[in-house]
Symmetry: C2
């Protein structure tokens, strides 16, 4: 009360919060006492799992039944503390996106109109945008008619629609291991079952292991993968493997759902085509978005539905109707010329530099034996801590210092990655980032 | 070939299309012959259901397995012909929406910004909009904290999220009969089962019948209803029935999913509260949107999730992340002052006038014995044709004359409404609308 000049009720409430977090303990009729560090840590662990309490909100796993309790609790917990440095979000710093140019585009489009939103645009997406995406696809080595494209609310909606189109409750979906946690949530929320296929930091999903699973594990309905710049590993599949994957799945009538969110981050995208380029029969559903590459505030994504095109179009109409028009027009303008390609060249050059500095700092500060990926593109590194270090615990103690990371546990339904974490190097490397990495390294040692 | 100056291949293709549509028949080695009208009609029926073929695209029900084939085929068929008059869409004419004011709002917001979309807004919705919705809710007789609101991609996404939160594959959902076809599609696509509860054109869903179903039909997981201005009937439940519905469902632990899309169309919204106003335990999920009332090009809807708030928030984050920001800000500005209320007063006055003219024209032109609702609000009428008249056939023949209607069959999984149709009076009543109604009346007689 004296030190912080607060009232008695504030002080008591603060003690209660600290008690919940395990930093102090209440002794009956005596008062609150600071706990020893190890006691605090183990208590913190329990807090994360059972009753995390910081801003006064209890996190109850029961609130998230059906949406992957474990992942949901971690995501919700990550939103509770005030953040100083966010290394968890797979996103670049705002200054790295062309926000001013997009604003100018929108102003220009608006000035030419007398009215807004007074009628509904086409449910499949604004024509101009679909044409721009069709042309952009050429730079990814694909020739796609604009009519084959459906504009979605980001890649999230695209993935969710794709899964709903090809599989129903109880069906088995092969996924990469580790994989992007959003996919695990969508799979669970649809009552689907996931089977995890080993995935290599350099070459991506193991097609051999997938073939083995297909032959020995009974029917698999679809495989969801990120052949170009996998999240979290950053791996890029060799062309031969992509061709093999397309062929294998076609032969066994297994739908391929390809997430190419990070394809635009490749140094020369046309040289590393998506699996969709090997698709002969419409068996690959291609999903992508501009929310990582062009700007996180957009909700523009798209998919190429192959033989499920009509079904997905109808499903999308049933669950969300058409999309807001202005953001589509703004992006269409930006993609129609060379602006998008210039932006990506600049962004990728910056990211390459940030990656080098980021990885060096990790190797310098983290405990000896720490392994870290050096992906050829994207904005994420995957780290394996040495010894028995637990990344869930690190997540919690980092959060208490205002640093958010992604613990490896949310990238799998197994416990294979509890010693891993995913960090984003999307923000320019500076003293603030370096000191966050130092703090993480210190906490890792203390954990 | 001579008459239309076309090539032989064009002429043959035209004959093939006409054959598909049932207007001509091919006699081997002799040529194409015009069919008698009755033959043509019954063939057309088959076309609609099995292989409609007009603009050259085959509609194959197999494309829509899992998204309600029958409804999907009808919706897809409705998009094939060039339209002169659309009486199917539940939407007002563009001029009736405040498109110019919304544009000005957006311009003003944009001018004050230097950048756009360079970071993601809050996933639960822009604060300003949530606050505006919270204040607006008071005019619907509800007191809702802005934190209890989630902004969605229209009411469609709200309904879909609500169903996913409360029910899983195989669960039984009670619905109104007839009901809005989008709900039937979402229910089927989620592997849920629908049980239809009789619904009255004046008083809405029969709470007695619902109670009977609950007692005798085994477990019902949720009930989806539109207590205020039902689609398609336009019915408004009496307050006593709403209270009873809320109590009944709470007692039996059945979630109420309330679709209040047309609530804002009520003459005095505060006097006819939603069922949510009687909710004591968070058992009612309230869904609404501005796409009918404020502007169809928006995708702004929202829900109040009650005890499922956190689950729905997480599910929404998994399937579509946050929403585009500008449209939310534009609407927030419009709703913050009195502009929205003034708009709705004006719109409702116009709709009342249009409804009178529209219903009079129907009574004047349609065959004797035609029944038509006179809803107290909204933009839809529900018509029952006399005798054995089939509305699916009328849908098809009207489409061939460039008029689109909604056949009653898409509002139910039963065949109780095959002699019904839903028409929208959202467009100002003029000679074009009147002649479309005359044409429909003529076709009804011919069918
Ligand atoms: C691999 C991957 N797919 C999909 C998404 C979601 O993309 P969007 O923001 O376009 O919905 C993400 C975002 O983190 C991602 O990393
Ligand atoms: C009763 C009802 N609910 C929901 C919807 C879908 O609303 P939205 O356009 O906001 O997704 C409609 C649109 O036709 C409707 O009539």
């Amino acid at each position: 009360m004296t030190l912080h000049r607060v009232s008695i009720s504030t002080a008591v409430e603060a003690c209660r919060v600290l008690e919940k977090l395990g930093y102090v303990e209440a002794k009956p009729r005596v008062g609150y006492f600071v706990r020893g560090p190890m006691q605090a840590q183990s208590r913190v662990r329990g807090v994360l799992e059972k009753d995390a309490h910081e801003t006064g909100q209890r996190i109850d796993p029961a609130d998230y039944v059906g949406v992957h309790e474990r992942i949901s609790v971690t995501l919700a917990r990550g939103l509770q503390n005030p953040l100083k440095v966010d290394l968890a979000g797979a996103v670049c710093a705002p200054a790295l996106y062309p926000g001013a140019a997009l604003r100018d585009n929108m102003l220009r489009i608006l000035r030419a109109r007398s009215s807004l939103y007074d009628s509904a645009p086409r449910p499949d997406g604004v024509r101009k945008l679909k044409e721009a995406i069709s042309r952009f696809s050429v730079s990814r080595g694909m020739h796609v008619d604009s009519d084959a494209i459906l504009v979605t609310h980001g890649c999230s909606e695209a993935l969710s629609l794709a899964l709903r189109a090809v599989a129903g409750p109880g069906d088995v979906i092969a996924i990469e291991s580790p994989t992007y946690f959003g996919i695990l949530q969508v799979i669970e929320s649809l009552g689907l079952k996931a089977i995890e296929i080993p995935t290599h930091p350099h070459t991506g999903i193991s097609v051999d292991a997938l073939e083995f699973a297909i032959t020995h594990m009974g029917s698999i309905q679809a495989v969801v993968c990120m052949p170009s710049v996998q999240n979290p590993l950053g791996s890029v599949m060799p062309d031969a493997m992509k061709a093999k994957l397309a062929e294998l799945c076609e032969k066994h009538d297994i739908a391929v759902i390809e997430d190419d969110t990070y394809g635009a981050f490749l140094p020369s995208p046309a040289n590393s085509k998506p699996v969709k380029a090997w698709d002969k029969s419409g068996n690959v559903i291609y999903c992508s978005s501009l929310n990582k590459s062009l700007s996180p505030g957009l909700r523009v994504g798209w998919l190429i539905g192959g033989k499920w095109h009509k079904k997905i179009e109808m499903l999308m109409y049933a669950v969300s109707r058409h999309r807001e028009e202005m953001s589509q027009l703004v992006v269409a303008d930006f993609m129609a010329g060379s602006a998008f390609h210039r932006h990506m060249r600049r962004l990728n050059a910056l990211l390459t530099q940030q990656r080098t500095q980021f990885v060096e700092a990790i190797l310098k500060h983290f405990p000896a034996g720490t392994e870290v990926t050096r992906p050829e593109a994207g904005l994420l590194v995957w780290i394996r801590l040495p010894g028995e270090l637990n990344a869930d615990r690190l997540f919690e103690s980092a959060l208490c210092e205002g640093i958010r990371i992604c613990p490896g546990s949310i990238f799998s339904n197994t416990n294979k990655f509890t010693d891993c974490l995913r960090l984003s190097y999307g923000m320019p490397f500076d003293a603030r980032i370096e000191s966050a990495l130092k703090a993480l390294a210190r906490l890792a040692r203390e954990t």
